[in-house]
């Protein structure tokens, strides 16, 4: 085990800003991509269904 306390873990031996800035941005990007993808899927499905309903009307 590398860390004596949670405080030491977050401090990263003085490199906290850089280490957490890197891992944090990565987490943000991954979460953001998944969120955008879900929204894209939902919007596409909504649009396509609306088109389909319009086409079905006599």
């Amino acid at each position: 085990m590398n860390w004596e306390s949670w405080q030491a873990f977050w401090a990263m031996g003085g490199y906290g800003l850089y280490v957490w800035g890197s891992f944090g941005m990565t987490a943000l990007c991954v979460a953001g991509e998944i969120w955008l993808l879900r929204r894209h899927r939902q919007r596409t499905l909504d649009t396509l269904r609306r088109l389909q309903r319009l086409n079905q009307q006599p």
Partner: protein, 244 residues
């Protein structure tokens, strides 16, 4: 099993749907193991202290940025050669994730460069060629978005994709060809890696997690693209009604 069977969007769509949870699950498990190695098993570096732990994101992200571009180029080439619609869509589905990893490689590089080199950015060959890779991804996506006719967009994008491949060996060999501030590679295809085994394992597990993530997201994205393109077909209509 006949591979050509799955080259049809109508069969690929449900197959991709079934595969996504498996790849997503693997990505989560491997990511958790990778993070555990990164922070709790890998020891402190004797030169860079804890700051070096950025390597576990930086290197896999940089690998992914180049690999994804090559995989896209492969599908673009297949698409241009055999005129298979699905190949173009897979290349297209990969692009945003490739751009994301390129951005992460640059971002983590800056956050690593600042404490170790004393600067966020230098215009050295490695950093500049990686930035060009980001522009290639963005250019590819912008080009696709700008052309309304789908088949023309496919072909134009594939062409840009293939021309841009020249940049990948430039990135890879830049640290050998030029005198860069960026260090040479610690892991090479030939010869033993110049780092502790546990660090190498951490990077490999993280890279594998990134692969699984990439496959899951790009399968999900290709499903959306397929549905958009095939909306006039019988199966797509049935699919849309079924999920209502």
């Amino acid at each position: 099993m006949n591979l050509y069977y799955y080259a049809s969007p109508a069969t690929f769509y449900p197959l991709a749907g079934k595969l996504i949870p498996w790849f997503a699950g693997l990505a989560v498990v491997l990511g958790a193991i990778g993070l555990y190695i990164s922070f709790f098993i890998a020891p402190t570096d004797f030169q860079q202290g804890e700051g070096y732990r950025i390597i576990f994101i930086h290197v896999p992200a940089a690998w992914m940025s180049m690999f994804i571009y090559l995989v896209m180029a492969f599908w673009s080439a297949i698409g241009l050669a055999f005129n298979t619609r699905l190949s173009f869509l897979i290349a297209r589905a990969l692009a945003p994730t490739g751009a994301m990893f390129t951005f992460i490689a640059l971002w983590t590089g800056a956050f690593w460069g600042k404490p170790m080199w004393g600067t966020w950015w230098v215009w050295d060959a490695r950093l500049t060629s990686e930035l060009i890779l980001l522009f290639l991804y963005v250019g590819y996506m912008a080009l696709q978005a700008a052309i309304d006719a789908p088949r023309r967009a496919d072909r134009a994008g594939a062409l840009l994709n293939l021309v841009g491949v020249i940049n990948i060996p430039i990135i890879y060999f830049s640290v050998k060809w030029w005198n860069t501030l960026h260090q040479g590679s610690s892991v090479s295809l030939t010869g033993a890696p110049s780092m502790a085994m546990i660090m190498l394992w951490g990077m490999l597990v993280m890279a594998l997690a990134a692969w699984m993530y990439t496959i899951a997201v790009s399968l999900a994205r290709s499903r959306i693209l397929i549905l958009e393109r095939e909306r006039q077909t019988e199966w797509a209509r049935a699919q849309l009604e079924g999920q209502a």
